[in-house]
Subunit: 391 residues, 4 copies
């Protein structure tokens, strides 16, 4: 399964935009995409600084000739290469405000796209990308990477199969504390653009709140109706929001709650979800990702440990696992599962099939658009004293 | 310390109202009050059913002569006993709607009172009790028993001492699932009155939401400004709310969030708090009460285990402990800590001192009133689409 | 159930020997014995220092007239009181080397006995007590208090019922670190006699190793054949053993392993057991006593939370619980469960029945004797380079 | 850092022996070795079945021309390739009994070697490999992969720096339950050779006991003197040991204990270590590998979460991390850390330096030899009623 792209019988060729700076996410894309031996990173525009773009290339295994000084140059140059040389897909790991232009160009040039979240700053741009994806038929994945965890996939299938009954409530909390490392007179190395309203578009809401929201949607499949959001900016050096929560009402009457913070001292990357149904409830925490807690009145708490050989593991859970239970899988593998599923679709497209962008196991351009909408409506609500805003 | 009421040099005499039915809370009062050998249960009106009131008495160690068939009779009769025989305090463990009348009579008769929460159904009644307590100078404790846990006391002192810096956010969640045992054609044994709007006044909000709110207030000392609450009733046989969350804005700008559910399958009594300050954050869970998690950017997560001999244990934490660390203390001991602190005040009063009801280590009549206000304002907000309501 | 001694219809009267010093265990006996309102502490020989014995009495609620200056005086004086006044049982919470003489005298005087462990220093003494118990028909309980935890009782019944299949292995570890508080030139307050070979008889082995061994035996019911033990004394100020492990071979071929330490920095009272059967395995930890972990190949890990209302809770587990699940019960309640079961037998004896000391739910004089044998054989083995020694 | 082999300036070329069957470990080698973009798998002898060896090649990205039908053929053929084409190292992921011959040939042909454990079946063979490594100067790493976890590296440095004081005790337990999936009339897919005494050499002892022993040695650096081991074979279809424990005495007087089981129902891959020093103690569990528990008398339990940016993280811990704390790293990354460190040495050798095989951060041929010795001495001890056997 892994390591093979039948019937293509070759590795997919990857271009990476971004990743040459201090952020770690570019390297995560490189490792995750190549983990299963199905893709090879062959081109890059690793930095907006041309010299840095060249210098970083060897570390990523990119030949100097294909180390470009901008995304635009990469897309143009790769488009002109022979079909059996040029890249198949472009991975975008740059600051938020640049995603749209790169993604648009890549799609127009016929490349598949894997894009960081939030997908764009504006909803218009997001909708433009949806349109392009539908027109071009290209594969478009958004790295809401937490959806790649095997136990999240397991939960999604359990819920879809009705194992929890009707879903009545869903809560996600995403809590970090790294913002307290932002000190006066110290230029933060990592993610300086994340503090710039023009480049980030939003603060913690867009950085992590969207992940939490997306995870609830991914697991439950519920359709949101409206939301009420209240955000704060507690860090003294911070313009953008760094704390908040949003109540969400879903079409079936269920209650949603998304809480996010980047000012909770000492929390690293504490993303949790809890989902309540009429027949059972589940909970999961990203920092201990190999365990899914399943509860039902009067029964013992059941801990579903990631274990592809266990009878309780369903098809999605099994497909997202690489090694036996007890050998923990973690962040890279979950991230790689987004790529793996996108690769399956890229192979299908290469094979002449049409991919339905609304029925992907990986977060699609539509999820990307919904994330941007979520950010926008939360901002609108919070600015209006947490008034209810329609989705 | 325990087992002695100096300079009174005798045990305090206790009367228990309620406890003879299926609810477990009456027995908890009896065990908790007597745990430290400082009080003796000598009188009771254990049931509103006179026969049951008599039958249950021996189990509680109450002599037949002092097993009354109603609270009113108990209060009247005990008032007429000689001072060195009659009870010192009355513990009220009856359905919510009866608290007020019993408490009022007990205060008027000169007894101290320990009362279950919510203290009353209406705010007027609560304010009436505040007035009576101030007039009579009697001790009045409300069994928001979770404030009795040593690690909660430890947290309170840490926060008051500024160890977490300025508090910016506080979240409490209280999640249970027992309501799913409510089946058609089955009369629930435990807490049937809890489902009756007239007797309970509110549903899960009053039953557990008030505990969560009180615990946040107790630990942080923050002053609330307004709230926005959304409640639901998900159980098909349920009239009252069984799920909800309330956002709270505090005077110092901090954000509060209280989430409660009695419809989360398989959760037993899962009360948790998380408090974020500018210098550190803490978290605690009632089902593992001997551990307080303390976090600060860049430091290891520190788990403060309940341990009266440890240098990190502060005065409140130490005073609330009975045995060495690693020998777990739990629900009864926390409940007993409410009593223990109230006993200290009763002894003071017996000794001629005046007790300031606004500066007690146990939840006071003012906390009781605030809990009723919280319920009322949450109901008002929820009925108005989660509009903001002033405290 | 609790609070009543039918058909006796009165509380049992308790005498406490020891408890007036710095040790906490005397107070634990007092609280535990009286927790369910079935016994009353009325007499004591709380200290070997007569003045202290008097001073401590009020704190325990003992009248001056019955505060004796020695166990011998207590036994003599109480024996001469009218039958409806004198104590029913004597609880022994004194240093190890004094247990035998007190217990012997109490039995001879016709009192039931509840005795701390290790029951005696020498095996001869232990066997003498067995003989006396059999002759007198008195109730004799040894406070291997960890057997009183509801989830241990649950485990015992599960194993007896064959739910784990044939038991093949059992491991217990009991790890503490308080010995590091033993500093040069500092006289330890708590348990100074514990460091005296003549008074303690053994070090950590007798103090905690016996608990671990007893717990394995209690839960599994396996019969030991021989053991191989290796002990060390790591603390520089220590004469007695403070670290060790013993391998045990059981009659049915199962392997046992008991590990104990009082020199593991920072561990408080970390007693754990793991039991493997041919059909399932369980594990349990004293510091989180309300959870029993149950595992079986291919099934999710099942956490049996203490919950008397859950269908998975068996009779022993249910009988040992006092309050609903999620309301944690802990050390005192487990200790009280030893008393509760001993009280049941005392009532039976009062009612004319004969109690079979080999079939008690509480640890009996035979368990006490076996604990002493375990200590003796471990010492013999360790002194002989861990040679195998028969039970 | 990752992705670059300066001054070699190219990826290292890898050959994989084994991996084409049902075992998962071959794929783990492939993924782990290539994770950091520093090596490329270019040749393989993936199966002893020539057809299967060819079929499996594409999945591993190996060209048909370099998919050999035996290790011997691979070594011969690769040796004859030009220096800038032939592989740099050979990874051995075959059944135990074949390791020696393959490793010997690879060394003799001048290749570096990465070898699964146990390194050989016989001690003679192990010593022969030690000799060859010393003679050839080749890099030789044994995949005691659990030593690659960042928090184990952190622990090693902490202990070496004296942060725990003198080490007095070390316990490792490695518990699995998969053997219960071995059913009559069912040929196990995975690891059928593991049940064959001739091919495995030992049972659970060699399969997992050696990992546990190695991990203790790796973390503590203690020198063993002798051991006493008792093993059992509990599974009815099993010839080899499946359960056991070994006591170890170290030169400095410390006590060691290694416990292993593959018959503990429901345990997946539960490897834990606990190390006690005179100043502090630590514990760690493989299934939650990002947390190291650090304890010291009177201090809060400190949880060192894997976090390269935290001040508490030491050099070894930091170097073994790839991404920020809270983004869990797991099995693959730890395995890759063995490769990463071996690559560093391969580059050194390529650069003309001499590598001291006794001072590697990865487990070396000497550790491999010691593991074989441990197996042999445990077997000797167990066969002689757990008699003490010198190392």
């Amino acid at each position: 399964m892994a390591g093979i792209n039948e019937p293509l019988n070759r590795k997919l060729r990857m271009a990476l935009i971004g990743g040459g700076g201090n952020a770690f996410i570019g390297r995560v894309h490189a490792i995750a995409a190549q983990l299963d031996n199905r893709a090879e990173l062959v081109a890059g525009a690793l930095s907006s600084d041309p010299q840095r773009a060249q210098q970083a290339a060897p570390e990523f295994g990119i030949a100097p000739a294909r180390a470009y000084s901008s995304a635009a140059k990469l897309i143009t140059a790769e488009s002109q290469l022979p079909e059996d040389e040029r890249v198949d897909f472009v991975s975008i790991a740059t600051p938020n405000h640049t995603h749209f232009e790169i993604a648009r160009q890549a799609l127009d040039a016929g490349f598949h796209v894997v894009c960081d979240k939030p997908m764009t700053i504006s909803l218009d741009d997001a909708e433009e990308l949806v349109k392009r994806v539908e027109e071009t038929g290209r594969v478009f994945a958004v790295t809401h990477n937490y959806t790649g965890y095997p136990m999240i996939r397991q939960a999604r299938e359990m819920i879809a199969a009705g194992e929890l009954g009707r879903i009545i409530a869903a809560r996600a909390t995403y809590v970090q504390g790294w913002l307290w490392s932002l000190l006066p007179d110290v230029v933060p190395k990592r993610g300086v653009w994340k503090a710039d309203p023009n480049k980030a578009g939003s603060g913690s809401l867009g950085d992590i709140g969207t992940h939490a929201y997306n995870l609830l949607r991914y697991a439950t499949g519920l359709t949101p109706v409206d939301l009420s959001c209240l955000m704060q900016s507690y860090h003294p050096l911070r313009e953008l929001d760094d704390y908040g929560h949003a109540a969400i009402r879903f079409e079936n009457g269920a209650s949603g709650l998304v809480t996010f913070s980047q000012v909770t001292h000492g929390r690293l990357n504490d993303l949790r979800i809890e989902i309540d149904g009429t027949k059972g409830s589940i909970s999961w925490a990203q920092e201990q990702p190999n365990e899914l807690f399943v509860r039902s009145l009067g029964q013992p708490l059941r801990v579903y440990e990631r274990n592809p050989m266990a009878p309780y593991t369903n098809e999605l859970g099994r497909a997202a696992s690489r090694i036996p239970g007890g050998h923990p899988e973690a962040f890279f593998e979950a991230f790689a599962n987004i790529y793996r599923a996108a690769f399956d679709d890229m192979i299908s497209v290469a094979n002449g099939a049409t991919v339905n962008s609304r029925e992907t196991i990986y977060p699609s351009v539509h999820d990307g658009r919904e994330g941007v909408l979520f950010v926008q409506q939360c901002q609108a609500s919070s600015a209006n004293d947490a008034a209810w805003v329609q989705f």
